[in-house]
Symmetry: D3
Subunit: 265 residues, 6 copies
């Protein structure tokens, strides 16, 4: 890769990937609403509001690839989601179309399918059932990406990220955990593939318990190496009390599925 | 029905349904951006921009049901689509949640699935493949409706309307034509059903050629009575020249699938 | 048909079918726990407890076909269900095996699948989800029939009867109604078919609303002629008040799915 | 249609279709190994061995469409099948490619799927299970047509003809009967369609009993009008003795599935 | 686990699991028709006929979990199966309902699906095709468990145990073998899961050859560790003579599928 | 194995397997159009044109098993394909039928399904979409094998070989590579299985990227041990330039799918 854009570069995932992907590309353009002070070799920072069309056009020009973590990454007001995830996604894909970017890594979310029962095994063809406005907005992004592929041949990996943290924060994440290393490896595979199409990938490590089957993305050759198994016996996970009839336990989206409307809280 | 809201009441579908549904409800609230001058018995007009949250809240209060034709109904600029179909849909569902509306007839569109080949037989579980920004926005509306059903138990009919005109305007519409009478009957069935859930219905008459199978909505008891067969021999349809390799013929979305980006035109 | 056995002949279905099938077979053996006093031409009555092995052996001998309505036909105590539907079904199939009966019409019930949602379209391959001990016992009968087919080549029609009454008794039955004439015609088709296998058939008329698809039984050539549509406008059906969130409305089994354990009542 | 080629024009289907399709095309080229003496208006006869490459090249030149009934139409020696159905099909598709023919009506056969059980409901995606060398050769033709579509965009209707006779000749044909009128109408629909793709169609009338579901060809708008129901009560059908365990009754291919190897007979 | 009931504790599986699960629960109640003389730490024995309602009620009271191996575990007379597996299962689930037990490990059997061909890959949604009265009775138990889940929210693991012996006894068991360690681990996973639902699990180790896919139970996080591969080269397995057309080889149920009716033997 | 026939024994696969399978059978009959000079212990060479019926009859007599690599193994003229792959396959299966051979290893090819997109995950039930006349001829062989199984109980492994070379020759083969050792092991498994049926197996090693799922052949117990991963970093693979919109990259068949008609080249 010569020149890669990472949006949302100041967020958790962006920050983690900057380190993991060091050396992968000659130049890395980092963008975020928030400033990033310490830059590594080859890194450039561009402050950018993804909701601003002209800024995004300028940002994208000249890139070979885009790793899109930008926008709102959890439940929020509709206005914030509209700006970050709906206008933001549109501006990004339009900029890609106008500047001839061929392939986008789109960070979608498991909250696109969060209202499925935990006993359901999902794959890339499962019905979307978002558990939040956030999940709806990520579903919008997936539909938009499909449209730009079918009409303009821009390829996308629609990566429904589970829970990407250094370690699982609760029992639910034993099933949804994605290690930072596995995510970094997936990003590389997405850009190394001879052909990507518009492909849904569940961003999840090789955990003993899983709700998601990546069979439709096996052509990518991504094989997660980490597993939540090493955390299973940790006290904070063993001692967590769960009730199997709690909506946060019944549904894949966990607390997102249980929560009421955001404004209510 | 005591009091029904029809949004987009000044548009083609709204106007046609006002006549067909006359007498169905005691009161009919008509809303549109454009004024409606001649009102029938029981009809009240409220001018309303669906993108305006407070106006929509006021509009919806006190209704038993909503027939939602409002918003942009064809390809348009992203700004217009954002206002009419994305903010508009959110405002409507939020208003329904706050005011306790239980059931919504949501006019979605075949352009949600317009990038499927014509030889593909689709049903309610087929993958969404929008053919336009308009189609993406209707897909957003469907996801939003699913979310409000899963979380707040608001039922929706997601009616992917084919081509609702007095008669088919071109050969493609021989397969996609929906008569106004069949549409009116569907609206009645949606509100007569003991249970609706969140159900995709293809809005299409009983045409000889069809690309869509409504088997998952058979519980509704809707049986379209009209057929495009009576128009098949009309000269303007017989004489239309088509090329089977033309994208407008290959894909279900027809000219929407063939068109470039809206701004390009 | 030369000699046909009808079990449960004193019950509602048995009584109705005796009339509808008059003349179909040369001899009709009627069996029931309860006596039948008035016999028609060619009819013979044999009082028989299906739970009694020896009685059933004697009853079945010499028959060409069996129309099995016998046993308990609604929710009941487990003891009664055990005797009528579990021992009863076993004794009947054993007798068929020992006496060389080749084909059985087995009256199963929609309550075998009563815990599916009404929006689900079921077919012969849908998962069994019984809504009652009665439904479980009918599921047992279906498994037993499959076993006798796979091992001993005894063919069965497993007819999941909806609601067979002169007219629908409530709104739910608009979807589940089976006319007596359509049932009689189905019985004839089952015995006229060149091959039956072990086939699930939903016993339902050609109603506008349906939850069941008989596509896997199309080889039988059974085409129901009646429809509940003629009853739709009757006052007692229009005036029935339903709540879409009531378990009796949500689930296909209706009140069976809603009811608690039989002993509780 | 300006100029249509009908191969196998002296056979049963060819002869019947010549009459039914009179007037459909301006010119009809009839080809067969056997001579045809009486020609109608617009008909021209060309004697042709489909196994002869040069003859087929000459035959096809200048045609708008091809209705291909030629080749062996029942079980036969492998040599005959090789010449008529394998070399013949290849020569025909090659000629179509070289002369720019866009669309072919290919008479395939139900014997391509004859080893499925009668209780199985098949559609266009069901596995091929030929019941004879004849069936294998028709399967070869279908694969060849798919290849010429995928690589050279030549469209084909792969019509798995059931039993096309003036009336059903035996009980099996109550399920497989195709009236000559329905076949003629299908041929017209195949050439009237705006797009055909490479589509499997089961050639069967609207019989009460059927083993085949044409749902994947609904886009064609073909609706068979005839039914074997009118023949059901004929004595020769009622009196036919069948044994449900006979392979000719168990399998869809009937006597083809039961027969041993052709040379054995 | 505080207090666990193991039924059938004197049988093969019960005996093996007592050892493997030592220390898992504070108290283990062992029940069986046959006496158990030597008790380990925390073990209590209660002699109990599962067909006796009152005894089962008393047995279950106060338990946190139930591991149900009790009843008849191979083909037998219908009377024995009725008592052990039908009355027994009902009494157990009724006792669970009355005493508030939330989760049951139900030992079902591969003989529930024994009439599938060996080339068929089954999963939790495959059709039940029992190969014996024993298999029918286990199917009854699965339906009953589903009913108690849908109506009373009692969760069950329906474990279709393959062949649980110290080593495979014949060639068929190379595909069906379940090691005792893998079974013990599965029991623990069933009780460790945050949510279980009513889930079919094939009880089989990680053998090279398998007929069963546990994908629908991947959420449990059970990963069998043993494999029959280590036994493949043993002389008694290499020297076993098999005939691929033998029903005991063709069907998954092996000798159960081949055997005639139990009374015949 | 006592006596095994390997056809196409002078070709690449035949030569490689002769070495890998040394010692597997007591006697190995090698056949090819081309002579083989150096024979190993137990090897006999018979020159044979598979298109010649009598020669094949003589060749097959007395064998226990057949490993069929013979015929044309890449795109060629139709005449050559007709002789090698169509007549050749027929002669071989006829010889097997006449001489009582029970089981055949049939080397089919991934070019039977080469017109599927690379993002599609195929299994044994996926539609055949050949990418060449060669692929069509292999599809013919598969249908023929299915017919001989359904009618004459001759079992076949239909092995859709990917790319069997010492190492991947280009980037596409990173997904399709089959090591010689894995192929040899598969041949042994095919003959060691208690039952084979007529089973499609994708002949591919355990590569990180794959387009094919062998789940329906898991009963065979074949577990490939090699992986193309060890070659991924080789310079000639890293430096290969690919274009994701090139038909040779879009379709699984690679250059076969892209190529025009053979005669054109």
């Amino acid at each position: 890769m010569k020149r890669v854009l990472i949006t949302g570069a100041a967020g958790n995932l962006g920050t983690a990937m900057r380190k993991k992907l060091a050396g992968w590309a000659d130049e890395v353009i980092l963008s975020d609403l928030n400033p990033i002070s310490e830059l590594g070799a080859g890194e450039t920072f561009v402050q950018c509001d993804l909701a601003d069309y002209d800024s995004v056009m300028a940002l994208v020009e000249g890139c070979d690839g885009i790793v899109h973590f930008g926008g709102v990454s959890t439940e929020n007001t509709f206005d914030n989601i509209l700006n970050g995830n709906i206008k933001g996604a549109y501006n990004l894909y339009e900029a890609a179309r106008k500047h001839g970017i061929k392939r986008i890594f789109f960070a979608s979310s498991n909250h696109v399918i969060g209202f499925h029962d935990r006993e359901a095994l999902l794959d890339a063809q499962s019905e979307m059932r978002p558990d939040s406005l956030y999940g709806v907005s990520k579903g919008f992004g997936e539909l938009l990406a499909q449209y730009y592929f079918d009409k303009f041949s821009i390829e996308s990996a629609l990566v429904r990220i589970g829970s990407c943290f250094p370690k699982p924060l609760n029992r639910r994440m034993l099933s949804t955990w994605l290690s930072e290393s596995d995510l970094a490896e997936l990003i590389k595979k997405v850009y190394a593939a001879d052909r990507l199409g518009c492909t849904v990938v569940y961003g999840v490590s090789d955990n003993p318990s899983t709700w998601w089957d990546n069979k439709h993305a096996k052509f990518l050759g991504w094989t997660p190496k980490d597993s939540s198994e090493v955390f299973e016996q940790e006290a904070y996970l063993r001692e967590e009390v769960v009730d199997s009839s709690d909506p946060a336990v019944r549904f894949q989206g966990g607390p997102f599925a249980k929560a009421g409307h955001f404004e209510d809280d």
